[in-house]
C-alpha cells in the first residue's frame, strides 16, 4: 500500500525505557500529588501493549512522559537512547511517537481533514511534494480518502480519531500512544479504532501502547500493564491478568461480560477457567458439558 514506513526499514531496535520514574504534580507546594511512583518497564519494537487502571491511577501522566510532554521528577525516560529530559532530543522524540488523546474534538487543528493530517508535517518543515505523498498515503491507510476535504466537525467521533491517527502516520511515527481513544466513541467507532490499531501493529509494524478503561479492549492485546495509584502492580499476558478477577473488581475495573459469566459458572460448580476472554473459547468449554 503506497510507500512503506521508512522507520521500519532502518531496522533500528526501537525501544522505550522507563527507569525508576517518579512524577509529582505541584512539586514543592502543599497540594503535591505523587502521580507516578518508581515506574520501571521497557517496550520492545513491535509491542502491542495495553495499559489499564482506574480513574486517576496515572495512565495519562505515564503517556505524557513517553514523548516528553511531562518530564520525570525523578528517574529517566529513554526513547531509542534519547533521554526525554534533554531539550535537544525532544522534537526527534515527538516525531517518532504519535499521540492520540481521549477527546476527538480537541486534537484537530485545521479546518479540513487533509490539512489537519499535514499539520505535523508543516511543523517539521517538510517540502510540499513529500507532504502531499505522505498525506495521500496516510489517508489510504485509515481509509478516509473520500472525506479528505471534509470539515472535522462534520465527521463522526471514530472518523475524527482516525484523522488523528493518520496525522501521526504521516509523520512516519514508529510508536503510537493512544490514551483512552475510544472512551468518547459509540460502539461502532470503538470497534473501528481498535481494528485500525491492530492493523497498524500487524501491517505497518508500529509499536502500540493503548490505554483503556475497557477490559474487553485490553483483552485483545499481547500484554497488559496494570496501574494503581501511580504504581505498576501487574504486567503480564491478558490470560494471567484476567485470572485475578477479584483484584480487577477491587480496583473497580470493568470485567468483560464473558469473563464474568465464566466466573459465575465456575462458582456454581462448573469446571471452567475463570479467565476466558473470547466467546469461542467459552463455547468450547460449554460444549464439553453437552
Amino acid at each position: 500500500m503506497g510507500l512503506p514506513n521508512p522507520a521500519i526499514k532502518k531496522g533500528i531496535n526501537t525501544l522505550i525505557k522507563f527507569s525508576n520514574v517518579t512524577h509529582f504534580y505541584n512539586d514543592g507546594q502543599e497540594n503535591k500529588i505523587t502521580s507516578l511512583s518508581e515506574i520501571n518497564f521497557e517496550i520492545q519494537k513491535g509491542d502491542f501493549i495495553a495499559i489499564i487502571g482506574a480513574n486517576g491511577s496515572g495512565k495519562s501522566t505515564l503517556a505524557k512522559h513517553i514523548n516528553g510532554l511531562l518530564l520525570p521528577s525523578q528517574g529517566d525516560v529513554f526513547v531509542e537512547n534519547y533521554n526525554t529530559k534533554d531539550p535537544e532530543n525532544i522534537w526527534e522524540i515527538r516525531k517518532k511517537i504519535g499521540m492520540v488523546f481521549q477527546n476527538p474534538d480537541n486534537q484537530l487543528v485545521a479546518t479540513t481533514v487533509e490539512d489537519d493530517i499535514a499539520f505535523g508535517l508543516e511543523n517539521i518543515g517538510m517540502e510540499e511534494e513529500e507532504m502531499k505523498e505522505r498525506v495521500d498515503w496516510a489517508l489510504n491507510i485509515v481509509d478516509l480518502n473520500e472525506l479528505r476535504n471534509s470539515e472535522p466537525h462534520l465527521l463522526s467521533g471514530g472518523q475524527k480519531q482516525k484523522v488523528v491517527i493518520a496525522g501521526a502516520l504521516a509523520m512516519h511515527t514508529s510508536y503510537l500512544v493512544l490514551d483512552e481513544p475510544t472512551s468518547m466513541l459509540d460502539p461502532k467507532g470503538r470497534k473501528e479504532v481498535l481494528e485500525i490499531t491492530k492493523r497498524l501493529n500487524q501491517e505497518e509494524k508500529i509499536t502500540i501502547i493503548y490505554i483503556t478503561q475497557f477490559m474487553s479492549e485490553a483483552a485483545e492485546f499481547n500484554k497488559i500493564i496494570l496501574l494503581d495509584k501511580g504504581k505498576i502492580i501487574l504486567s503480564d499476558y491478558p490470560k494471567a491478568i484476567f485470572k485475578k478477577v477479584d483484584l480487577l473488581i477491587k480496583l473497580s475495573l470493568e470485567i468483560p461480560q464473558i469473563t464474568k459469566l465464566a466466573r459465575q459458572l465456575s462458582e456454581n460448580g462448573l469446571n471452567i477457567p475463570t479467565n476466558i476472554l473470547k466467546e469461542e473459547e467459552m463455547m468450547e468449554y460449554l460444549c464439553l458439558y453437552i
Binding site: T111, F119, E128
Partner: protein
C-alpha cells in the same frame, strides 16, 4: 431555539470557475484596492465602472447573485438609516419640508451616493468571501502579512488564531446547543422576563461554555505540542500558493479599471 445542523463557516460557495482558481493573495489585494477606490471616487461615473467590474467578477465566478444579495440583507437597515440621516442633515436647497425637518436636494444626492458606496463595499467583500475558501483566505492573509514581518507583525500567529477559530466555532455552537437543551430540560426559561432577567438566565449557559472552552484550549495546546508545533519558525505550508498568468492579468485589469473609475470625470 435551534441552530442549523451542519453549520459551515463563512459563505464560501464552491464553483469550478476562473475566479475561484485565482491566488487568494491577489483576490485579497484587489478587494482592498477596490474598497479604497470606493472611498476616493467622487463621481457617479466612477461608481458605475466599479459596479460593472464587480458584476462581471460575480458573473465569471458562477456564484448565483442571490448569495450576494443575501450578504446585503442584514445591512439593509444600516444603508436606509444612512440614507435618511443624509436626507435631513445636509444643508442646501430645500425641496420638501416636514414639521421642523428639511429635505434638501444636496441631501438626497449625498445620501444616495453614500448608500451606493456602502452597497458596493458589501458586494466587493462578499465577492471575496463567496469565492475564496476560509483556508485559502487564512493562507493568503498569512502570506500577505508576513511581508510586514520587519515591523513585527505576527503573521503566523494571526493566521493560526483564525484557523483555530474557524475550526472551533462549529464545535462551540454545537456545545451551546447541548447546554441550552440540558438547561431547558431542567426547567430553565430563556424566553420570558425582562431584559436583566433574561441575561441572568443566560449565565448558566455562558459559564459552562467558557469553562469548557478553556479546557479545550488546554488539550488542544498539548495535542499541538505533541505534533511538533513550535510556532511559525521553520514551518512549511501544505497548500502552495502560486501567482499564475491569470492572476497577473486579473490584477492589472483591476488596477486599470480602478484608475479609469477614479480619474475619468464625466
Amino acid at each position: 431555539m435551534k441552530f442549523s445542523r451542519n453549520i459551515t463557516i463563512g459563505q464560501y460557495i464552491y464553483q469550478n470557475s476562473l475566479i475561484h482558481k485565482l491566488d487568494p493573495r491577489v483576490k485579497i489585494l484587489t478587494t482592498i484596492l477596490v474598497i479604497i477606490s470606493l472611498f476616493l471616487i467622487k463621481s457617479w461615473f466612477g461608481f458605475s465602472i466599479i459596479a460593472l467590474y464587480l458584476f462581471i467578477n460575480i458573473f465569471l465566478s458562477k456564484v448565483h447573485p442571490k448569495f450576494v444579495l443575501k450578504g446585503i440583507k442584514p445591512l439593509i437597515i444600516i444603508i436606509i438609516i444612512t440614507l435618511i440621516i443624509h436626507f435631513f442633515t445636509t444643508p442646501g436647497e430645500v425641496i420638501y419640508h416636514i414639521w421642523i425637518l428639511n429635505i434638501t436636494k444636496e441631501g438626497i444626492q449625498r445620501g444616495l451616493f453614500i448608500a451606493v458606496r456602502l452597497f458596493l463595499l458589501i458586494v466587493a467583500t462578499s465577492w471575496l468571501t463567496l469565492t475564496t475558501s476560509p483556508i485559502a483566505l487564512t493562507d493568503g492573509i498569512e502570506r500577505l502579512l508576513s511581508v510586514l514581518k520587519f515591523i513585527k507583525v505576527p503573521a503566523h500567529e494571526i493566521a493560526m488564531m483564525m484557523t483555530i477559530a474557524l475550526r472551533f466555532i462549529p464545535t462551540l455552537m454545537e456545545e451551546t446547543e447541548k447546554i441550552i437543551k440540558a438547561q431547558m430540560a431542567r426547567g430553565a426559561d430563556f424566553e420570558s422576563g425582562n431584559l436583566i432577567k433574561r441575561i441572568q438566565n443566560f449565565l448558566p449557559i455562558i459559564i459552562p461554555l467558557f469553562i469548557n472552552a478553556f479546557h479545550r484550549a488546554d488539550e488542544l495546546a498539548i495535542a499541538m505540542e505533541a505534533r511538533c508545533y513550535r510556532g511559525g519558525e521553520g514551518r512549511t505550508h501544505y497548500r502552495k500558493l502560486m501567482i499564475s498568468i491569470a492572476d497577473q492579468i486579473f490584477f492589472i485589469t483591476t488596477l486599470f479599471v480602478i484608475l479609469i473609475a477614479y480619474l475619468v470625470v464625466l
